[in-house]
Chain length 226, copies 2
């Protein structure tokens, strides 16, 4: 498991650059081929030798962790931007969710879960996303824009589901825009409309706090390719 933060270390400029190239390539390859994708392929796509990859990331888990932390960083920035530029809290939520789709958050999650230890560093990165999103949601509900029974999990899990790539061949029919279309339908379902005209939500309502249960859990046996 990589040191706390070897990303900010004292490295030669080209090494620093290569490190980021590897992370970017890893994200793409992991999304395409799953968390067990050959590391050679990642190195090739990054344009570096396999040795460079192994020097920087002693094992696969270290690389996965770096990708996860990097992605959380992007997401946190997306949340901040959404909060700042949204015309109201509903619009902010909408901006965040569409942005999260673009960041492919949901394609990264499957790696995170089960492969990365939820220690303090990961937890902090996670909350840097979760806290502003929860704040947006709470505000939107206070303004009567979002149905009051909606919870954090109803945002997070749908982003995950929508941003996971569909099977390759369906690309004949589908591009990334389809997920955005369906997200808008979902968002309309989240609106605070007449309670008589909407379905009553069944459990489980998963709150932001519930995610704390993942702390410390790690490599709990079966880790599907997925």
């Amino acid at each position: 498991m990589g040191g706390t933060t070897d990303g900010g270390g004292r490295m030669r400029a080209d090494a620093q650059r290569n490190r980021q190239l590897i992370i970017d390539a890893a994200r793409d390859i992991f999304i395409e081929a799953g968390a067990d994708a050959p590391l050679d392929e990642i190195a090739r796509q990054a344009g570096v030798g396999i040795a460079t990859l192994y020097r920087r990331f002693p094992d696969r888990d270290a690389l996965i962790r770096a990708v996860v932390l990097d992605t959380f960083g992007v997401m946190a920035e997306t949340a901040r931007n959404a909060e700042e530029h949204g015309t109201d809290a509903f619009d902010a939520l909408r901006r965040f969710m569409h942005g999260a789709l673009d960041a492919k958050m949901g394609a990264i999650m499957p790696m995170l879960a089960g492969r990365v230890e939820f220690d303090d560093e990961v937890d902090q990165a996670r909350l840097a996303v979760g806290v502003p999103v929860q704040r947006i949601l709470t505000t939107a509900q206070a303004q009567g824009l979002i149905r009051p029974e909606a919870v954090f999990g109803d945002i997070a899990f749908m982003v995950v589901r929508l941003s996971r790539p569909l099977p390759a061949i369906t690309k004949i029919l589908v591009d990334d825009d389809l997920a955005h279309r369906h997200l808008d339908i979902y968002l309309d379902g989240l609106r605070a409309s007449d309670p008589a005209e909407r379905l009553e939500l069944r459990p489980p309502a998963v709150s932001l706090a519930d995610f704390d249960k993942l702390r410390g859990k790690f490599a709990n046996g079966a880790v599907p390719t997925d």
Copy 2:
């Protein structure tokens, strides 16, 4: 590629039974571990020897095809039941989608796409699902229960997305019910509400007819594990 329908052939009763055990096990294992899961594991879970599996299904694609056809059969029955028992067309659509989630349709699709040739047999099985679903949708729209811009793809792809399993570790937080909860939110988004109060849907609108484009396409290169 297996013969047209070796499912109904003249087989000894126990062989017939084993064949179905293999298909059932394959569905479970494929869902858990992806379409490239070791065949040994499938045989083990089915409680048969690896030789039996190979005798019945000469290669992986034959097995995948059998699973796909079997699943379409279940789905078609679900659609028929929904149409028959729904209190109105919205309710029928709702029943179908929840039922399709339970059948894990979306976990099977990733195999179908890119691994199974869309020949006449597959096409017929596919339409045995698609046609009644389209009919339900059209009826619901005629009755003013579903927004008029919604199309077949808005039903099918969301079922796929919702029924794909989330990463193993999130099972600490999540059970299958969560997908049903989110489906209900989505269904509320599909309702025909005041157009001023809903988001305008962007393209692409994927119709049932668009799926014909998949005919004949097969093994188009990159087939992600997924």
